[in-house]
Amino acid sequence: MNLRHRAFVCRAAAWLACACMAGPVLAQQATANRVPLPAIEAARGEACVADPAFMRRNHMNLLKHQRNETVHLGVRDARASLKGCIECHASAATGSVAQAPGDFCASCHSYAAVKIDCFECHASKPAAAALPANHPRTDTGVSRPQGVLRWPQLASAR
């Protein structure tokens, strides 16, 4: 009786120890499941203007550099243009990059809690009527320009 009782106590202690160790792990998994991860919709086009890892970190620098070039110097056909981003990344469902919470820009920016101001002035949808027949938006041909961006940070990142 005494031996049995002791064995039960040992087993209970072992279970308790296991539960204590497993507790934080289970809690972490639950937390991870509650956070809505950004859903990145596949873009049209063969490749982005730079690696996805580089773009995640530096797209804002590329856009800021390009906006000054375009507004002040009139350089329109540059690769790192917001219009170019929108033409490839507009959602198939909404046709926009920032209209619905799941759209390309909006989903990542809500995950990172960074307010996005671009689309208070800029159209978040590509101009459908202005697109040529072989344009990515028509989903038949792919025409994003290929090659390497000439940007100092791009060289240093690689």
């Binding site: 002040h72 009139g74 350089v75 329109r76 208070e120 002035c121 800029h122 159209a123 949808k125 101009a127």
Partner: protein, 256 residues
């Protein structure tokens, strides 16, 4: 804000710097052949470094023939609204980039109708008063607002003698991809800069011509062979308020 101002200053300085650099090279090497002036070398260098975008040798301008501009016709205004995604103004505070005005001489009773928009001055007062550098003149003479830097102070609206600028009071939706506009910024006629950069001309000029009026002519005032240069050489034309000596790029023919 600081970096934007710095970049603007750099752009302004870059021309002078390259000229000084070339001047120093010319003085040091004494290799410039007779008949080749430094200014030509500088212009050639500018062509080599910036092939795309606004060309400093160009001065875009308009010539408006008021004798062909019909009273009551607003084809240019509606073309501007369509091209730039502006709603037809219903209130005095709504944005308007081009407007038709009717004038009548008190002495003779002669009535005239003409469009007035940003006059794209060579010495723009809106640029002088802008505290952030948002109002600027491009190398090819087009006066623009960089909405990224505009804080909406509206000094430029006060400074402009042509009342050519508007303020956007309310949030906008459904902007054109080529023409970003938004609440809290001042805006005005851009001479359809997105079309010019693509090799075209302003929408108002196109609409006026396609309607058969041909009252507006767009072109390079610096190019002696352009149609607009021929016309301003041959017929009498006027700038609005020449007494202010702002040298507008828009000229009016037949204005009395």
């Amino acid at each position: 804000m600081k970096s934007e101002r710095d970049s603007g200053a750099k752009q302004a300085l870059s021309g002078r710097r390259s000229f000084l650099g070339l001047a120093a090279a010319g003085l040091g090497g004494v290799l410039i052949a007779p008949g080749i002036h430094l200014i030509e070398v500088a212009q050639a260098a500018a062509r080599g470094t910036a092939p795309a975008g606004a060309n400093a040798k160009v001065r875009w301008g308009l010539l408006i023939d008021t004798t062909k501009c019909a009273s009551g016709c607003s084809d240019c205004v509606s073309a501007c609204n369509t091209e730039n995604g502006l709603a037809a103004p219903t209130r005095p505070t709504d944005a308007q980039w081009i407007r038709k005005i009717e004038i009548k001489s008190v002495a003779t009773g002669r009535a005239q109708s003409l469009p007035v928009m940003c006059q794209h001055c060579a010495e723009p007062p809106c640029v002088d008063v802008c505290p952030t550098g948002a109002s600027f003149k491009r190398a090819d003479g087009i006066v623009l607002v960089d909405r990224h830097s505009c804080i909406g102070c509206r000094y430029c609206i006060m400074a402009c003698p042509y009342q050519a600028r508007s303020f956007v009071h309310e949030p906008l939706t459904a902007q054109k991809p080529e023409v970003p506009r938004g609440k809290g910024c001042v805006e005005g006629c851009t001479l359809c800069v997105h079309r010019i950069d693509a090799g075209g001309g302003p929408a108002c000029v196109e609409a006026c011509a396609s309607a058969g009026h041909h009252a507006m002519l767009f072109g390079d005032l610096n190019d002696a062979d352009s149609e607009i240069s021929h016309r301003v050489r041959e017929v009498a034309s006027k700038q609005l308020r020449p007494d202010l000596r702002l040298d507008p790029g828009v000229r009016y023919q037949g204005l009395a």
